[in-house]
């Protein structure tokens, strides 16, 4: 396994070298953009997030319908679940998004909007919420009703499915049917997180008699065939309540990695390469100058988690020193080929309440001083555990090793494979790189840093922060909530357990025939896996 993983990294280097060397042999070399151009291009799509769809639409026929859209994805797996509540893999997310609908979703603006729900509104306090459903039908033609929603929620709790762990405030017995399309949720405690927490594809609504072997949903596509780990084929649901789908057939084809996807795109075997590695953009430009790339900033991040129960990160001075050691811009330039945004050690840049604290700059001398003042003898030894959970993970980890060496740290990078990383030792690493984000400020905090958070990998526990959180999620007045959020993020900025160095851009490469590209900055996956919006010119 590790041998294969090593090959992958070596492969990338060889592919790059070969592609760039051979570019001279083909006619495409003049179009090979350098990395700064590529980054500028990303910036231009980035600044007009709302119009991002138009950027893609320029390339193709905006009226086109029909055809078979072939999407390359790295990678499908035998473990891809047809039950959305058990989706943990990219393939599982693809299935969940095509076959089903969630009550809410993060829209192209990055804020939550209704999906299967026409509206989600709080009562006088944040512990009562009313959900009104749209007129939607299941794939078998029967209507989606309040009873289906209640059954979906109850199923998570009685079967102890993953969504149950993310919804501590939902009391399955507190959900009341008002009429066929209306429900009231009486929460265990008041929280404004409620509508945001329902955006995860895992929380897709399924019919009362749901059978994962024959997954009937209300989503834009139906499942035609499922070859686990190889290919998923979907047919358009002509009665879909929402936009699209514009193509007749959607094929999602498994590729080993972004390199294979890029190759498949350049030779016309697929129409869209789902999320390619930023360094492959130059390769693609050399191989296939006609193809387009669509990049947009997201709230996704590869963040270093500092375990506060382990030495030396139990000491806030060490955490702050390591944050100062990181050169964020260098990571964006060298690891992400320019396709990333600066992070400032707290999450959720697309949340309207994201705070504007002074950008932390690299200062290795100050870092060393902090360590010495705190009584440490330099260098401070740290073990970093990392796995290639994202294509850029290993390179980002290698970068902090080098950067921190100049700031009084001696970091040993313990490289493991993904299954080992998430194995029994997960949660005990002093320093590790995690893939997080795609959530609002409160939901991110609820999942990772408040008291009793289900996935508190850093073991951080700050009563002052917790009190602010509890107060903020009960505060319906937005300006009052904003003030509390700024205090929360200031605490994270001054003594939190994460280094959030950058936010990654989503990068989609596509043939000129594809249009309808739309940014979903707060949703994991290419275009938030909303393939129903895509059109394919003949």
């Amino acid at each position: 396994m590790s041998r294969i993983a090593r090959h992958m990294t070596l492969r990338r280097a060889i592919v790059l070298a070969l592609a760039l060397a051979l570019a001279g042999c083909s006619q495409s070399s003049p179009n090979t953009s350098d990395s700064s151009d590529a980054a500028d291009a990303a910036d231009s799509t980035a600044t007009d997030g709302g119009d991002a769809g138009d950027a893609g639409a320029e390339n193709g026929d905006t009226e086109a319908t029909g055809g078979t859209l072939r999407v390359g994805l790295a990678s499908l797996s035998d473990a891809d679940a047809t039950d959305p509540a058990e989706a943990t893999t990219p393939g599982g997310y693809v299935l969940a998004k095509q076959l089903f609908d969630t009550l809410t979703e993060f829209g192209p603006e990055g804020t939550w909007v209704g999906r299967l729900a026409e509206s989600v509104t709080a009562g006088d306090t944040a512990d009562v919420w009313t959900v009104v459903l749209r007129d939607a039908t299941w794939h078998d033609g029967t209507p989606v009703t309040s009873d289906d929603v209640i059954a979906s929620f109850k199923r998570w709790f009685t079967e102890d499915l993953p969504p149950a762990g993310s919804l501590p405030f939902v009391d399955p017995d507190g959900i009341q049917r008002v009429d066929e399309k209306t429900l009231t949720f009486n929460l265990s405690y008041p929280t404004v997180v409620f509508p945001e927490a329902l955006t995860s594809p895992l929380m897709a609504i399924v019919p009362q008699d749901f059978d994962p072997a024959n997954p009937i949903g209300s989503g834009p596509f139906t499942l035609s065939s499922n070859d686990p780990g190889i290919r998923l084929t979907f047919a358009a649901n002509p009665d879909y309540w929402g936009e699209g789908p514009y193509v007749d057939t959607l094929e999602v084809i498994s590729y080993a990695d972004g390199t294979s996807e890029t190759n498949a795109l350049s030779t016309g075997q697929i129409d869209l390469a789902a999320n390619i590695d930023p360094t492959l953009i130059d390769v693609l430009a050399a191989q296939s100058p006609d193809s387009g790339t669509f990049a947009y900033p997201t709230s996704g991040t590869l963040t270093w988690a500092m375990n506060v129960e382990q030495e030396p990160f139990d000491d806030v001075a060490v955490r702050q020193a390591l944050r100062l050691a990181v050169d964020r811009q260098q990571i964006i330039d060298q690891v992400y080929n320019g396709f990333g945004r600066l992070g400032n050690d707290y999450f959720s840049p697309f949340d309207p309440m994201y705070s504007d604290l002074p950008q932390r700059e690299r200062d290795p001398e100050a870092a060393k001083q902090m360590l010495t003042d705190a009584g440490y003898e330099l260098p401070v030894h740290v073990e970093l555990t990392g796995a290639p959970n994202q294509p850029t993970s290993d390179r980002q980890n290698e970068m902090i090793v080098a950067q921190a060496a100049e700031a009084g740290f001696d970091i040993t990078f313990n490289k493991v494979d993904v299954a080992t990383f998430y194995g029994d030792a997960y949660g005990t690493y002093p320093l590790s790189l995690s893939y997080w984000g795609y959530a609002g400020i409160f939901d991110q905090a609820a999942m990772t840093i408040i008291k009793d958070a289900p996935w508190n990998g850093t073991k951080w526990n700050d009563p002052e922060f917790d009190d602010l959180y509890v107060e903020a999620v009960q505060t319906l007045d937005e300006s009052a909530r904003q003030e509390l959020v700024e205090k929360m993020q200031t605490i994270e900025y001054e003594r939190g357990p994460y280094i959030v160095p950058i936010f990654v851009d989503a990068i989609i490469a596509h043939s000129p025939k594809v249009s309808g590209m739309t940014a979903y900055p707060n949703t994991d996956g290419p275009l938030g896996y909303n393939f129903n919006l895509l059109r394919l010119a003949a």
Partner: protein
């Protein structure tokens, strides 16, 4: 006559017993190694978001909480009945899940072997007949270059040259549609086939060349030549007959190499075969799939070696006699 038949039967029985023994040893080693892999499947399935209670519940559902020895004998019993078990990751039988992958790889390996074996013999014999000739040097040089490169480098170079960068004549990947017969997607498999043949050919050619050359300089061939027997007959009747048995072993080795090498090549081309299936199973820690595929591959190789032994026997009667037997 009866004695000779009895001896042959005894030989076969002994061989069979050895094969089964080897397979059992392989199966046990595979089982133990997969158990020792760090990281477990329930955690993989439930993801980083899983709680300990959810993991424990899933482990129980999968039967992973039972004693190791119980799991071992249950699995082994299934394998002996030809039951590959149920994939833990997907809940479907391994045979259903891997069936199309096994068929795809078997097809590729068969075609690659059908090209590689005759080509290697033709080239090897031709080179051996003129030691120091142009062909001899060309083969030795190529062997050196190709053997020093990992399979995936050759595969990537082929993609760059024939698909993406220089000439745009072939599709770059081989992501077959499992619902369409493989021969109807033949253009997809040309590049991986070329890669497989290129990586396997030099080694076998070099071996054939060396064996034939050794044979051609042997005493009995010299005697045959001195007796005025035509060179063609010397080659076919005297030299090649003795080349076949050792070469058969190398042929099986080559087939084994093709099966093993497909893991790297399948990954480069995203070919949905047994190699990428195995790699996926390792990533998800789907231990029943890993175990069953590994043992299946071992069984195929052991069977091929047995066939090679048996065929070799036909050519070398000496080997049929018991060791230290009468002359």
């Amino acid at each position: 006559m009866g004695a000779r038949f009895g001896q042959a039967a005894l030989w076969c029985a002994r061989r069979l017993a050895i094969m089964v023994g080897m397979l059992l040893v392989v199966a046990t080693i595979v089982f133990l190694i997969t158990q020792a892999l760090p990281g477990d499947l329930p955690r993989q399935i439930l993801g980083q978001a899983a709680t300990d209670a959810q993991i424990a519940r899933l482990s129980e559902q999968m039967g992973l909480d039972r004693p190791l020895i119980v799991q071992y004998f249950e699995w082994l019993g299934g394998m002996l009945r030809g039951d590959l078990g149920v994939s833990l990751a997907s809940g479907t039988p391994v045979a259903t899940l891997m069936g199309p992958r096994i068929a795809a790889t078997a097809f590729m390996v068969t075609v690659a072997a059908a090209i590689t074996l005759p080509a290697a013999f033709a080239l090897g014999i031709a080179a051996a007949r003129r030691p120091g000739g142009a062909l001899d040097h060309a083969i030795s040089g190529t062997v050196f270059v190709i053997m020093s490169m990992p399979e995936f480098v050759i595969a990537i170079a082929l993609v760059a040259i024939l698909a993406t960068n220089v000439f745009h004549v072939l599709p770059a990947t081989a992501a077959l549609d499992p619902r369409i017969p493989i021969w109807d997607q033949a253009n997809l498999i040309v590049l991986p086939l070329i890669a497989m043949v290129i990586t396997a050919l030099p080694h076998l050619t070099e071996s054939v060349k060396a064996t034939v050359r050794e044979e051609l300089s042997s005493e009995h061939v010299r005697w045959a030549r001195l007796s005025g027997i035509p060179e063609r007959t010397v080659l076919t009747r005297y030299a090649l007959a003795n080349v076949v048995p050792p070469s058969l072993q190398i042929c099986v080795q080559t087939v084994g190499y093709l099966i093993g090498g497909t893991i790297a090549i399948e990954t480069v081309f995203s070919f949905p075969g047994i190699g990428s299936g195995l790699a996926n199973s390792v990533m998800t820690r789907d231990i029943t799939s890993i175990q069953s595929i590994a043992v299946l591959i071992a069984a195929v190789l052991i069977a091929l070696y047995a066939v090679a032994d048996a065929v070799g026997l036909v050519f070398t009667p000496r080997a049929r006699r018991p060791v230290g037997g009468n002359r």
